[in-house]
């Protein structure tokens, strides 16, 4: 199941143009996905109005001939939501790809290491027990804190049990996940049952909380952490070959793996804090990318981020219109649509 890290040799110049073409095409596709997401929703807003509002907000050159409510729908509700979907998708995609490389486990995903259950635990504790003592950012902050605390617990458990190999680290993560989830369920049980509505949102994920003022936080984490991961593609390629090989290439295996975990925990933690637990994206996007573009992490990481962004933007658009006026939980869409699509793709390529 290990991927070959060696791409088919191409003339360097040709390789560059192909990468540039990919990047341009991908950026264009993401732009179109966001435009589509902003254009449709539970309330029917004519396309001309949607684009007029966007043009008005961005350039200030268009004279408004629409109602404030329409403007709020397009500019304050749909647009930040589409951008949040893209950010979360990108973060989960790149984290999944990096974790799959360092654990050499094709089933590794951002939610594997207790990160997400820790985030959910923090959020639920804030919502049901401590109250919003830090204002509107209480829940995201508690979720982020919970995610990081869970990661530290996993690392401590690994150290305690002397687990340095990838497999045992994953097992430690799974065990900690179970413990934290049990804790979260205790909180739910002790909290008010009518708050289960909120808890369900957290467990299934959703992008309905998106607002302009919050987008900076996932972006501020994703950019540096994501770029750092990308800069380590060569080391990630070496890790895919096995610990001994990576060590012989001069990579401090155990320490490098921990660094990747911490970067992944930072990204996943901040994503969970604003959107709950969204499954599938982090696990499947890297596989989709490898089916298309081979196993070199120099390409797999950025493309996983790009595909994740496009996929989640489209999935959320579907979630908003399928049961309109209600939002379907995004996890249902990503799991069902994504899973079926992925199987179809595998069948086609074998």
């Amino acid at each position: 199941m290990t991927e070959t890290p060696l791409a088919t040799p191409l003339h360097p110049a040709l390789r560059l143009t192909r990468a540039a073409g990919f990047a341009l095409g991908g950026a264009g596709a993401l732009f179109l996905a966001i435009l589509l997401a902003v254009s449709i929703g539970a309330v029917a807003v004519p396309l001309s109005t949607v684009w007029g509002i966007l043009a008005h907000q961005i350039t200030g050159l268009v004279t408004p001939d629409w109602t404030p409510g329409r403007e709020a729908i397009v500019w304050d509700i749909r647009f930040p939501r589409a951008l949040l979907a893209a950010l979360v998708g990108a973060g989960l995609g790149i984290t999944g790809a990096a974790l799959q490389a360092v654990t050499r486990n094709p089933l590794a995903d951002p939610h594997l290491l207790g990160i997400s259950s820790g985030g959910a635990f923090g959020a639920i504790a804030a919502l049901l027990h401590t109250g919003l003592f830090l204002g509107l950012l209480t829940v995201p902050l508690m979720a982020f804190g919970g995610a990081l605390a869970a990661t530290l617990m996993v690392l401590a458990a690994a150290r305690l049990t002397g687990a340095t190999s990838a497999d045992r680290l994953v097992l430690a993560g799974v065990a900690i996940s179970f413990i934290i989830m049990a804790g979260a369920n205790i909180l739910i049980f002790l909290g008010d049952p009518k708050a289960t509505h909120t808890v369900v949102f957290w467990m299934l994920g959703g992008l309905g909380l998106a607002q302009w003022g919050h987008l900076i936080y996932p972006l501020a984490v994703l950019l540096p952490a994501g770029l750092w991961l990308w800069s380590q593609s060569a080391a990630l390629n070496a890790m895919s070959l096995g610990d001994e090989t990576a060590a012989s290439l001069g990579i401090p295996v155990a320490r490098f793996r921990l660094s990747v975990f911490v970067a992944g925990a930072l990204i996943t933690g901040v994503m969970v804090a604003f959107s709950g637990i969204i499954g599938f994206v982090g696990l499947m996007m890297p596989h989709l990318v490898r089916l298309i573009a081979g196993g070199d992490n120099l390409r797999v990481l950025p493309l996983s981020a790009l595909f994740g962004a496009i996929f989640l933007t489209l999935a959320d658009t579907l979630a908003r219109v399928v049961m309109a006026p209600e939002d379907m939980p995004i996890g249902v869409v990503t799991g069902l649509i994504g899973g079926v699509f992925f199987l179809w793709l595998m069948a086609r390529r074998t």
Binding site: G69, I77, T198, G206, Q211, E326
Partner: protein, 309 residues
């Protein structure tokens, strides 16, 4: 057009001069003018609006057909208004109706930390008044009382500039309440259990849910009034242990009151509970068991049910 109507109302009633400020849970909310495009969520909140004669200031409602059926009285009251969402609304659905006011509560259309809260609606120009009973979800609150419902009516009266109407309504409720509870024997309060739903574990009303106040007004005591919660799930054991003499069934949704009673009757665990042994059930409709104008009729039903032998 709408402004003209508001102006007429203002002239017709010696309302407080705008701007007015009301307390909504732990917030102070200031209204510069009476809302003209209101949305209310859930049947009991809609009824408060209708009782105050505010239908013409409404542009729609949410959260009714997803759970329960409207009864005739309410159906005609909101006949021409659109239901924007069968369950809890999203921000987009609310914004699409261009409202200036949303009357909702915690777990009555809004969830703590959810997409629709007073904070998330503020940027859309939508002001929110929260149902008093639901304030326990966002901070400390006194035990449930009839005053909670009166406070909501009076606050809505202030917000919409129809104070005298609100005061008249509340005075009427109080008069009617003392009328229906005049002959109530309060020496030894009846032990009462509220059964909302659930078979594995019962969903019931705790200290902060309005049925506790309704039961007390009718001369009973909610056996779960030591539960420091609003609506909550408990275990069956304490229910059996505390041996209610009357069980109040909340009727709504898919499981009928008769099915709930049949469940209680068929389970040997409840065979020795006084209420089950003596067939003493009082059925309250959802709209009677949640804060709103029908609470008075609910107390009347309870009084009648408690007096039966």
């Amino acid at each position: 057009m709408k402004y003209a109507l508001a102006a007429l109302l203002l002239m017709a009633t010696p309302a407080l001069a705008f701007p007015v400020t009301v307390k909504s849970c732990d917030r102070q909310v200031t209204f510069d003018k009476a809302p003209t495009r209101a949305i209310a969520n859930d049947v009991n909140l809609i009824e408060m609006m209708l009782a105050l004669g505010l239908r013409d200031q409404m542009v729609g409602y949410t959260g009714v057909s997803g759970w329960k059926t409207l009864d005739e009285g309410l159906r005609s009251g909101i006949a021409e208004l659109p239901e924007l969402s069968a369950k809890y609304p999203t921000r987009e659905v609310l914004a699409g109706a261009e409202p200036d006011f949303f009357f909702a509560g915690w777990n009555y259309g809004m969830t703590v930390g959810g997409e629709v809260t007073p904070e998330t609606l503020a940027p859309l120009g939508i002001q929110v008044y929260e149902l008093t009973e639901s304030c326990i979800f966002v901070g400390p609150k006194s035990k449930s009382s009839m005053e909670d419902m009166y406070a909501d009516i009076l606050n809505l009266g202030t917000i919409f500039g129809v104070d005298d109407r609100a005061q008249a309504l509340v005075a009427g409720y109080k008069a009617r309440l003392s009328e229906v509870t005049a002959g109530v024997d309060r020496e030894v309060p009846l032990r009462v259990f509220v059964y909302d739903s659930g078979e594995e574990t019962p969903f019931t009303a705790g200290a902060y849910a309005i049925p506790t106040a309704l039961i007390e007004a009718a001369g009973g005591v909610n056996i779960m009034d030591d539960l420091e919660k609003s609506w909550a799930t408990v275990a069956w054991e304490p229910v059996v242990e505390r041996n209610p003499e009357v069980i109040v069934i909340v009727n709504y949704g898919d499981v009928t009151a008769d099915q709930k009673i049949a469940f209680l009757e068929a389970n040997p665990a409840f065979a020795n509970v006084d209420a089950v042994k003596n067939d003493r059930y009082v059925v309250l409709e959802y709209v009677e068991a949640t804060p709103g104008p029908r609470n008075i009729a609910a107390v009347e039903k309870l009084v009648a049910g408690f007096q039966g032998d």
